[in-house]
């Protein structure tokens, strides 16, 4: 999962849907913890397209 920090709106949508709870919203950044399996759930809900599956690039 690629995270474009410049495109992030810090809304937390991705954190809410992460099935492995590997995402954390700090004040102005999403932290992606070890173990992401690129399921793509976060990409589906990001209002600004700040999270992109590597295979989509």
């Amino acid at each position: 999962m690629k995270y474009l920090v410049e495109s992030c709106g810090y809304c937390g949508a991705c954190v809410a849907v992460c099935s492995n709870k590997l995402l954390e919203l700090t004040e102005i950044e999403i932290i992606i913890k070890e173990g992401c399996n690129d399921c793509g759930r976060c990409e589906m809900v990001c209002p600004l397209g700040a999270l992109i599956l590597e295979e989509d690039q």
Partner: protein
């Protein structure tokens, strides 16, 4: 450090929980991860008068941008019908009349609530993140927090999680809440200046090409100023894409961009455990059809603060006692939230032509005087609408 109650999150849910806990003579700490309470805005900022009834506050021009008397609903084919709610000539200063709805300035309102809470004794820590919960024999009894690189343990009898849709604190307490992407409404909103709008009417626009799985809105904030936003679900394009498409129709200038996510899955199954309560978006206390939640969160947060106070006075913060919070808020809202969820399921299956048919029906019928005959005529003309109702209800 030891408090009676620690509230995680400093927006509406957090400030109201802490306000009512402090009013009941508790030592309360409210922790907000951002350095400024109320910012960034993640909301269309509309609410109802009931929010102020809950708060026992008179609405103030300090944080109310405009009063709302109703809404125009726009179908995909452009057909429009109006829903009237309250009175436009409400005078919030002299209280001559009461308006049913308001558009708030959340940056001011959220901070106002935090200040009110602080005035009655709540300690507030900003730019502080909760990294973990402290537990003893399975009971939550504090938080591990981090402020400017310093990690600290703060103990409490009760922790209230009001940390929003992105809540990780409920998960830390063992209350599982992973939301299906289909149940998240992704939202993007501009505050636009230079609009030709009625300052007392909300506008809602529906259609697969406008906002798939959701709707677009215009919430006035004063003369020529409005929140213009889009919420989408199950969309291949982002909310921001649809926002720009929608906003491009207006000759106006953005002065703010807001991004948000609304949980439309309905409330979580359990909102309490030993020494622990969850409120607001973190608990899914949002109307699953409209996405509105300020008035719901307000009352749930008040109940949370008051039940926490009662539990501490009774020296019983077990889940058995704190279950009272869950029972009280469900008594107030659960039936309506369940009905809204059913309506949302119907809405999810409506095609643009179904929505046009419904708009035609509402355009030609007074909602307050709906006759069985006219309703039967609608279903006779559009049998798929009846099938949808049968499938879901």
């Amino acid at each position: 450090m030891k408090y009676d109650v620690i509230v995680v999150g400093g927006r509406i849910g957090g400030s109201i929980s802490s306000l009512f806990a402090s009013r009941n003579d508790l030592d309360v700490l409210m922790i907000e991860k951002r350095q400024e309470i109320g910012s960034p805005v993640q909301c269309a900022e509309g609410t109802t008068f009931s929010t102020f009834e809950t708060l026992e506050m008179k609405p103030s021009k300090k944080y109310i941008c405009t009063e709302i008397r109703g809404a125009n609903v726009h179908a995909p084919d452009g057909r429009t019908f109006q829903v009237e709610e309250g009175m436009a000539d409400g005078d919030i200063l002299n209280n001559k009349t009461i308006s049913e709805g308001y558009v708030l300035d959340r940056k001011v309102f959220d901070k106002y609530l935090a200040i009110e809470s602080a005035k009655v004794g709540t300690d507030v820590m900003v730019k502080t993140t909760v990294k973990d919960l402290i537990r003893k024999e399975g009971k939550v009894c504090g938080v591990v927090a981090k402020h400017l690189g310093e990690t600290m343990e703060i103990k409490s009898d009760v922790v209230i999680a009001a940390d929003g849709v992105e809540s990780n604190v409920a998960q830390m307490a063992g209350l599982n809440r992973i939301i299906n992407p289909d149940d998240i409404c992704s939202c993007a909103q501009y505050e636009l200046v230079g609009l030709d709008i009625d300052p007392h009417l909300l506008e809602f626009y529906f259609g697969r090409t406008i906002a798939p799985g959701g709707y677009s809105w215009i919430f006035p904030k004063g003369e020529g100023i409005a929140n213009v936003g889009v919420g989408v679900r199950n969309s291949t394009e982002t909310a921001y894409y649809y926002l720009n498409k929608f906003a491009s129709k207006y000759d106006s200038t953005p002065v703010e961009l807001n991004i948000g996510a609304v949980p439309l899955s309905g409330p979580m199954d359990k909102t309490y455990s030993d020494g622990f309560l969850v409120v607001g978006d973190a608990a899914g206390q949002v109307d699953p059809l409209t996405g509105g939640g300020i008035h719901i969160t307000a009352l749930c947060a008040r109940i949370a603060g008051e039940v926490a106070a009662e539990a501490i006075k009774e020296e019983d913060v077990s889940s058995t006692f704190l279950r009272k919070y869950d029972e009280l808020w469900r008594y107030e809202f659960e039936d309506n939230l369940k009905i809204s969820f059913k309506y949302r399921l119907i809405f999810d299956k409506l095609s643009d032509s179904d929505m046009n048919a419904l708009a035609e029906f509402f355009e030609n019928n007074d909602l307050k005087k709906l006759s069985k005959l006219n309703t039967l005529k609608l279903f006779g003309k559009h049998p798929n609408l009846l099938k949808l109702l049968k499938d879901i209800l």
